[in-house]
Structures are given as C-alpha cells and as structure tokens.
Symmetry: C3
Subunit: 107 residues, 3 copies
C-alpha cells in the first residue's frame, strides 16, 4: 500500500480528481490556503496498492502537465488607450510524492 501526495495547479484540480475517481481511486482533496506564494495549488492524498502507483502518476500527469497557453493581455498607452494581444504563459504542472504505508485499515 502506498500513500501518494499530489500537489497540482488548482486549474487542473477538478479534472485530475474526476479522472482518478473514474478509474476507481480514492481521492481526498485538501484545502490549500491562499498564501501569495502558494496560491493556486490543490493537494490530493491518494491511497493505493503498490502495483497501481504508476497508473495514478500517469493519470495525474496526463491531466496536469505543464503546458503553454495563449492568454489575452493588454498594454496601456495612456488614459483609455490600450492594445490587446495574446501572450504565451505556462500553466499546470504537478509535484508527486509516493510514501510507503505500513498499515492500512478501513472501518
């Protein structure tokens, strides 16, 4: 048995959670407080058998991989005068820690 801690971008949080649940994994989602440095993250705890760790990591990775995205941006040239254009930003990404479980009980 393993306990997996996955810290994912809040943008990908519900997609990751849905994908894991659909595959039958038990997912607990912890609230992450919005400090300025760590805002925008969600921490998941997933308990699973040793042989399914790869599958969990694959699912998390597939749904939260770092990628670039075009988002609207704008520059102001003065009062009421601005130009809007798309810029490329990096979104997503996940950090995953797998720890060993010595004992597991369901009551």
């Amino acid at each position: 048995m393993k306990l997996i801690f996955a810290i994912v971008s809040s943008d990908d949080s519900s997609v990751v959670s849905t994908a894991l649940t659909k595959e039958g994994f038990s997912v607990t989602k912890l609230a992450t407080t919005g400090g300025f440095l760590m805002s925008g993250n969600t921490t998941f705890i997933i308990g699973t058998e040793d042989e399914k760790v790869d599958q969990v990591i694959d699912i998390v990775a597939q749904h939260s991989k770092k990628r670039t995205q075009m988002v609207p941006s704008s520059t102001s040239y003065g009062v009421g005068l601005y130009s809007s254009f798309p810029i490329e930003v990096t979104v997503g990404g996940a950090t995953i820690f797998v720890t060993d479980v010595e004992r597991f009980e369901k009551v």
Copy 2:
C-alpha cells in the same frame, strides 16, 4: 514514531477528535474542500509512538465505524400530497493509513 492519516466522515469528525485528545494524542485536523465526490470528509494527522498505533486505530474505529441509521424520507404523490417514512442509510466509516516517521522534532 508513526504518522497516521485518518480520513473520517465529517459527521464523526468532532467525536473522533475529542476522543483522541482526551486520551492525550496530538491531533491536527485538515480542512477538506467540498468537491461533490469527496464532500463530507475530514482528514486528521496524528503523530504517535509505535506502541500506541493500535490505540489510535481503536479510538478512530469506535467513533466512526460504518453503521446504518434511519432517516426521514418522503415521497410526493402530487401537489401538496406526500408520505413521510424512515429509510435506512449507511453513515460513518474511516480510512486509516499508518506511515513511518524517520525523525521527529518538537521545538
């Protein structure tokens, strides 16, 4: 030293927490965000000596075991016409993971 992660139904959360604290255990309660799939759970982190793990599991189990409960329900037979009757639902339940602590510091 062990670190125990106990995920219990929110219904049982304060009873479990009170019971553990009364027995002298240090309990940290993490907020679980209310996603539709995992609403209603509370995660506890409990650090304890190896020989007290059984006691922690017993306390959590005793106060959060899966059980059935009769709750009021109602069926509507038309506008303003309904029948109220009790139905049996399953409540409670806990999932407990015990992990090993390599180093423990209190400052």
Copy 3:
C-alpha cells in the same frame, strides 16, 4: 527525498513560509480547520533532498520556537473598575515529522 510535515503556530506561519521559500524550498500550506482544540495551527508539507532536512528543521525552529511574551491582561474589580497589567504567555512552537519518499515526480 523526504517529505516533511511541519505543524506550526499560525502566529509564525507566514514568517516560516517566507523563510523557507527564500531558501528555495517548495512549501505547501494546508488549511487547518479551527476546532477549539486545534485552532491556531498551520500545517506545511515540504519536499526536499535528504541532505537538506537539517536545514529545513533549522529554519522552521528558528522562526517558530516556543518563547514567552508579555501580553496585556486585565482584572475586573467591579462595574467599570479594572486594573490592566502585563502577563507572560508562551507562544509559538512547532512539531516536525520527517517521512521517507519512495518516488518523486515532477510533471
């Protein structure tokens, strides 16, 4: 790789978080719900290489050590009649658990 769980007094939470981040550590801050018994705590999860565990513990300890503080207090002698004086209280303190990480992935 280690995963460190540090439970610190909420008073010291932002100072600890800033100090760890300044030294390049990845810190995830979990919201702790305010039960009467465990209000006032913040839980951090810090993933780090084995050889930096000491540094993490030092930083947490330095910024959250138990210490005494003088705070204003007052005793009432009747309606509208009271005396204000400082009393010494203990603040801060942290509990730190280091657990082993079997596998670490960044995606």
